[in-house]
Each structure stands twice: as structure tokens, then as C-alpha cells.
Amino acid sequence: MLAYIIRRVGQSALVLLIVGLVAFAMFRFVGDPIDNMLGQERTAEDIERLRSQLGLDQPFVVQYYKFLEGAVQGNFGVSYRQGRPVAEILLERAPATLELAMVSGVLAILFGIALGVFTAIRRDGVLANAIMSASLIGVSLPTFLIGILLIYLFSVELGWLPSFGRGETVDLGGWTTGFLTESGLKALILPSITLGLYQMTLIMRLVRSEMLEVLRQDYIRFARARGLRDRAVNFRHALKNTMVPVITVIGLQLGAIIAFAIITETVFQWPGVGLLFINAVQFVDIPVMAAYLMLISVMFVGINLLVDILYFFIDPRLRVDRSGGH
């Protein structure tokens, strides 16, 4: 078992290294950061001086090595655009993204499961069919369009909710939170719906189809034959058995919510790490791009590693196969 885990960890580390290498190989195609950093009055000497000062005159492999060298010591370099340490900026921005992701995730899970169960039980109902049709919109419309539509409706036309920003935030020892003020909570509504809508419809459709599958099973029929109440059949027996694949998907989607907050954050000027990344790409802010990409890949690889290791515990066949050689 230890060998299995070590092998998985080793593979994950290799994936991370390759992601970093590919990222650094791509940066040069994003453009030349020097151009954004110096004004139009700069001279050729200024450009040369800055280029060698930043190490941009070296091959990307060397740049990557230097980045790794700093990263293992917790030093992700300095943002070209803001002139501040990247680690500090990321820490400052993380609460905004994590709070948004959390609220979207909770909304997606709650509504996704509730609507999924509802549409499965009332398969042929008018309302259930209406929800199913409406969910197509959630799956097919691009996030930025949903965001703009929500802004148009709730901010411009109705004037109920703010169109941008986080509202007032409260600083709790380095963690800024929008949960404690009215404007902060209001500001969360539209972005979290925008971000969570896709996941919600995904979970809803998954729950529905799993549930329909389960409801056809013999034990459900027997349960009904025994005269159990609908509620007990649907929720105690059917839903429980539906949840296994749903939880796996939810776990993986959690990473996606954080990683793909980029678009939502841009539309709502949400001051999180996604917006930071978009700004970094436009400015060719290599240290920020590198740190962000590494962070996201660490997150994805970490989740997958965890899932792999969990399988090992959950699925006895894996254990049997591995120990079969002895």
C-alpha cells in the first residue's frame, strides 16, 4: 500500500513539474513584459538593463529552474505589474475567490440536489419539465453572458443589486470577508449565481438520471410493496444510493469552480485571484502567471491524488490486485 501511495505521489509531482515547464515555455508567446513596464520614453539601455535584471535574457528552462528554486523556499518572485511580492498578492486575493467559490458551491449542491430529486420524482410533471428545459440554458449559455444578463436585469433595470465589486468587507486578521456586511452579502449574490449555475445544472441532471436509475431497482419496488411512505422510499433509500457518483463529481467540480472563477471575476470586477490572473496575462506579468498556474495545478493534482488514495481504501479490488503478487 505504501508503494502504491508513493508511486501516486511521484506521478503527481512529475505532472506538476511538466505543467510548470509547459507554462514557462508558453510565456514568451504571451508577449514581452518589458514593453509594459517601461514608458514610451525608455531607451535601448533601459530595456537591456531591465531584461537582464529580471533574467528574461536567459532561456526559459533557466527561468523555470530559478522559479522552482524560489518556489520551494516560498518565494514566488515579484509581480511586474504591481511591484509587490506575488505570495503577498495571492494571499490578499485568495479570500475573495474562496468565499465566492464556497457560496457558489453550496448553492450549486443544495439547489442541484433538490431540483434533481424533484425532477426525478415528478418525472412527467409540467414544472419538472420546465425546470429541465430551463437547465439547458444553464449548461449551454457561456458564463460571461449569464453574468452580463444578470447585471442588466438586477443592476441596471431593477437596481436591486450591485453590478461590480465585493461591497464593504471586514478584515479578520488578514482574511477579508464580505459575509459580515449587508453590501458584502448583496455583492455575493449575482457572481455566485453566475459561477454556480453551470455546476448546479450539472449536479441536477446527474442526480436526476441516477435517481431515475435507482428508482427502477427491485429494492425500491419492494420497499413500495412493503407499504413504506414515499418520503422514506425517495429520500432514505433512493437518494442515499444516488449520492455515490454525485459526490465524486462534486469533489472534482470544486476545483473547477475555483479555477474557472476567472470569467465570473472579470465580469463582476470581483477582486479575487482569477481577475489577478487575467490582469497578469494582459500585462505579461510572468511571476503572477507562474504562481497562479502552479497553484491551480497543485490543487487539481492534489484533489486527484486524494481521490486515488481514497479509491484504494474504498475499493477492495485494488488492494487484492496489488497484493496478489506476494
Binding site: G83, V156, V267, P271, V284
Partner: protein
């Protein structure tokens, strides 16, 4: 006793009027200031934020004309042509209460000349700044410099004592990631005082009740809340929904919507920026075309024909939705040296252009790559697309290659493009600035943006002599003669002057500043 009472009553009265008239200006544009350190970055939006809190010796008003700020008047010294004398404003205090004196000016200029300063090129000609007395400063230049004041309008004055007390005597090492006290704090003499700042999120400034010009300017805004909003649609939505009172970086396609909305207006003015195409005429053969062993762009007839093929009115109407002013020269209209006659020299004449092409031996046309930015100027890529069709009419097959600015501009400065789009603004309001960067032959510190390969030694000498020619009439004559060469050579193909749009709530009263640098002290609120 009586006086104390009177004072406290007056204070109470002031306090009530202040609260009664509290006017918050919520202001948004696409980007944020990069730093607050007055000398660390020479960049438009960064200067704009600083202008509310710090002041230079001289500023430009909404028409672009000089206006005294911390200097009350200035003139070249009668005794020495290499010296400018500045008389400083008396009785001015920094936000922390310290007095403003000549010592602070000397200190700020020395600071701005440090190696880490991004402002050092602008004042490169200054060799010494000395305080004659508490309110007189002399600036010595390395030769007569008739347009020195033009370079000082973004050079902010800091308090010497404050920087020493807070350990920020040295300019922030921006590239090295240094953060100093001055990066996140501000202590200027300006009309607004920094209250709080989260980079990229929100900056709040409040009215400086001790400002020297409090009675001279409207100063009706008591609090400024500045928020960068990057996404154009969100930015406009914020204005439409009333969450923002004043908006810069208005998207052209939303102008009508904002104008038609209740309580909102769009104001516009020609911007200090001209858009044009450059052509590499200097090389014997160019890579971007399909002609081997020759460079069609080297022939002035081809360059003229290309200019004649561009229909600027069509670009204005179709691509720019009326938001541009066709150009005949590559100087914005407020710049010294601009003339209406030259600015209307561009004509559209397809038949004439075809004839010129035939005369030059390219009657069958040729193909060439056009490099264009897609995130720098208003509708930049769309302008290039329009040009592709127009040049096609005279047989030139243009392959458009549009890229983000971070990839586009290095092509020009590294000489890797033969046909490109560029836009140029002139912070000094003088043609010399244009010649230095776009007309002078390319060397390491001059002609850096001249991607045309044009290099004329006589003209270069003339351009260099402008810097020290104090006879303004002779100097203007030289400028006119240099422009004549630029026009006759068709060094560039001018397209148009950009128009600047500011969206605002009707209660905000301000005219558009051609430099896109609103100074909130001029704003009225009703």
C-alpha cells in the same frame, strides 16, 4: 474668550456646511494606478491618481494650457540662457502640515533623477536644481531648453522631511518588488488627501480643507471613491445603474446607450493621440512582402498610393461610429507645429493611387503583412481590417496579423515589422517629442519608435538642434520645415485623431481633458 467662542462657532458652522455639502464622486475606469510613489512609474492612469494628491510646479488645465500650481510664475533667467527661474507659491502646506519650500522642490527633482526613477528621462536635460531662497528655485540645463516647463507637468513635489521620516528618500525599486512607505501612502500638497487604498480594488480620497486653492477652484467633491472596473460591459452597467458617477474608458459602442439614459451624459473632445501606419522604407528587401530583391515601400510613390487608398471618412463612420477625426499629419491638434493645412492633406483617390502604383512598377500590386495591435487603441483591429479592404482596391493584398499589445509593440521597437499600426500621444505638446521618437534615425536613445528605417542625417541634426534653440520663431520655422519633409516623404500614413469620451451623471460638471487626466478639483456637483 470672545475670540475662542467666535472660532468655535465658525468651526461648528464650517463643520455643518461641510456635512450638508458632502458630495461623493464615484469614479471608475479600466485600470488602477500601479503605485503611489510619485517617481516610480511614468504611466497615464498612475499620474491621474497622483494628480489628486500631489502637485507639480505647473499643471495643464482642461484646455491643455499651462496653469500655475506650486510655482506661481516661471521664466528663463535673464543672465544665463541655460537657467530657468521658478517662483514658488507661498503659504502652501503638505497634508501632514509641513510647510512647502524650495528645499522640497530641490529634493523632489533629485529624487526624480535617481536611477530607479521612471521620470528621469523627462528631466534628463536638468543638471542642477538650486534653491535661491525659500521660494525661488533655479534649474540649470545642459544647454538652453526652451520647452522645459512642458516636461514638468507630471513631476510631483514631495515633502523632504516626510520622506526622511518614513525612510522613502529613495524611489521605490519597482522592478525589484520593493515596497516603500510612499508606495501605499501619500503626502502631497494636492486638493485631496488619501484615506484608504486597496490596489486594484478601491482608493478613497477626501477633500483637503487646507488646500491653498480651495477658493480658486470649485472643489465641490468632498470624497472621491475610485474603482477600477476592467470589463467594459460591467463598467457601463455600473454607470447605467447609478453605482458610478463618472466613467473614463467608455466603450464606443455604448455611447448612444449612455447618452439616451436618463440622467447621464457623454462628453467628448479630441484626444492627444493620433493613429497611423508605419512602413519600412529603409530596407533593401523586406520579409513581409512577396517581392524578392526589392522593397516596394522604399518608393515614395507606393507610400503615397497607399495613403490615397485609405478612405478615412469611411473608417470614421463605419469603424469608429463617428468617434474620430480624420488626420493628415501625425501630430494631435494641440501640439506646437500642427497646422490645419497639413492635417487635411490626406485625400482618397483610388484611380490616382492605381496610377501611382503603375508608375512605380507595381501595377499588378504585391502582398504584404500588416501588424496590428488588438487591445491598445479604440477599435484598432477593426481599423486594420478596413485598411485591408481599401488597400486591396489598388492591388495590395494585405495579410493582417493582429496581436495583443504586449506582442505587437516589441515588433516595432525591435524592427521586426515592415508595415504596422502605431498610435502616439504628445505629453509635451511640442513637435520635438514626435520627431525625437518617430522621425529621427534609430539610435539607442533616440528614434526608438521609428520603425520606418528612415534616416536622414541633415534632418537628424535639425531635430537635435530644436532642443536648445531659444529663438522660438526660428525654432517653429525649423519644426515646419521638418514636417514638410515628413509629409512629402509620406513617412507615415495618418489615419485619425482619437476622440476621448467621458460618461457621467448629469450632476457632474466637467469638460473632457485631452490628456485623459481628470483633475477632480475642477469638478462641480449639483
Amino acid at each position: 474668550m470672545k475670540t475662542t467662542l467666535a472660532i468655535s462657532m465658525a468651526a461648528a458652522l464650517l463643520a455643518t456646511t461641510a456635512t450638508v455639502n458632502a458630495e461623493t464622486l464615484r469614479w471608475a475606469r479600466s485600470g488602477d494606478a500601479l503605485t503611489l510613489d510619485p517617481h516610480a512609474q511614468n504611466e497615464g492612469p498612475t499620474h491621474t491618481i497622483r494628480h489628486q494628491m500631489y502637485e507639480p510646479l505647473i499643471i495643464r488645465d482642461v484646455t491643455g494650457a499651462f496653469e500655475p500650481a506650486l510655482a506661481t510664475d516661471w521664466a528663463p533667467s535673464a543672465d544665463d540662457p541655460n537657467v530657468w527661474v521658478f517662483n514658488l507659491r507661498q503659504g502652501v502646506k503638505f497634508h501632514d502640515g509641513a510647510d512647502f519650500t524650495a528645499e522640497d522642490v530641490v529634493f523632489s527633482f533629485e529624487r526624480a533623477k535617481q536611477p530607479n526613477s521612471d521620470m528621469k528621462e523627462l528631466i534628463g536635460s536638468i543638471t542642477e536644481v538650486r534653491a535661491v531662497d525659500d521660494f525661488t528655485v533655479e534649474m540649470v540645463t545642459d544647454g538652453p531648453n526652451p520647452i522645459l516647463p512642458s516636461n514638468l507637468t507630471n513631476l510631483f513635489i514631495m515633502d523632504k522631511g516626510w520622506t526622511e521620516a518614513n525612510n522613502t528618500v529613495n524611489v521605490q525599486d519597482f522592478e525589484g518588488g520593493e515596497i516603500t512607505f510612499a508606495t501605499t501612502n501619500a503626502n502631497g500638497t494636492g486638493p485631496y488627501v488619501l484615506q484608504s487604498r486597496e490596489p486594484d480594488v478601491k482608493t478613497v480620497m477626501v477633500k483637503n480643507d487646507n488646500y491653498w486653492g480651495i477658493d480658486q477652484f470649485p472643489m465641490e467633491v468632498t470624497e472621491i471613491v475610485y474603482t477600477p472596473i476592467q470589463n467594459a460591459a460591467t463598467r457601463v452597467a455600473a454607470l447605467l445603474s447609478g453605482e458610478v458617477d463618472f466613467l473614463q474608458d467608455m466603450p464606443v459602442q455604448d455611447l448612444d446607450r449612455v447618452n439616451n439614459a436618463d440622467g447621464l451624459v457623454v462628453k467628448q473632445a479630441p484626444q492627444n493621440r493620433v493613429i497611423f501606419f508605419g512602413m519600412n522604407q529603409g530596407a533593401d528587401d523586406i520579409e513581409a512582402d512577396n517581392i524578392d530583391g526589392a522593397n516596394p515601400l522604399a518608393d515614395v510613390r507606393v507610400r503615397k498610393a497607399m495613403s490615397m487608398a485609405i478612405n478615412r471618412d469611411a473608417i470614421r463612420q463605419v469603424v469608429m461610429r463617428g468617434q474620430s477625426q480624420p488626420a493628415g499629419m501625425i501630430a494631435p491638434p494641440f501640439v506646437n507645429g500642427w497646422t490645419e493645412a497639413m492635417d487635411s492633406e490626406s485625400t482618397t483617390d483610388i484611380e490616382g493611387a492605381k496610377a501611382l502604383m503603375a508608375e512605380a512598377g507595381y501595377g499588378d500590386g504585391f502582398s504584404i503583412r500588416l501588424d496590428c495591435p488588438n487591445d491598445r487603441y479604440v477599435n484598432d483591429e477593426a481599423i486594420c481590417q478596413a485598411a485591408v479592404g481599401m488597400l486591396g482596391q489598388i492591388g495590395i493584398t494585405v495579410n493582417l496579423d493582429a496581436k495583443p499589445k504586449a506582442q505587437h509593440f516589441p515588433l516595432i521597437t525591435d524592427g521586426k515589422t515592415d508595415f504596422y499600426m502605431l498610435g502616439w500621444g504628445v505629453p509635451t505638446y511640442d513637435s520635438e517629442y514626435i520627431f525625437n521618437f518617430l522621425v529621427h534615425g534609430r539610435e539607442s536613445d533616440i528614434g526608438t519608435w521609428n520603425g520606418t528605417g528612415f534616416d536622414n542625417d541633415d534632418l537628424d541634426a535639425k531635430i537635435k538642434s530644436l532642443a536648445s534653440n531659444t529663438d522660438l520663431e526660428a525654432r517653429n520655422a525649423d519644426i515646419a520645415s521638418i514636417w514638410r519633409v515628413v509629409q512629402d516623404e509620406q513617412l507615415y500614413i495618418p489615419i485619425h485623431h482619437q476622440v476621448l469620451n467621458w460618461g457621467m451623471s448629469e450632476k457632474v460638471g466637467i469638460e473632457v481633458d485631452p490628456e485623459d487626466q481628470p483633475k477632480i478639483k475642477y469638478f462641480t456637483m449639483n
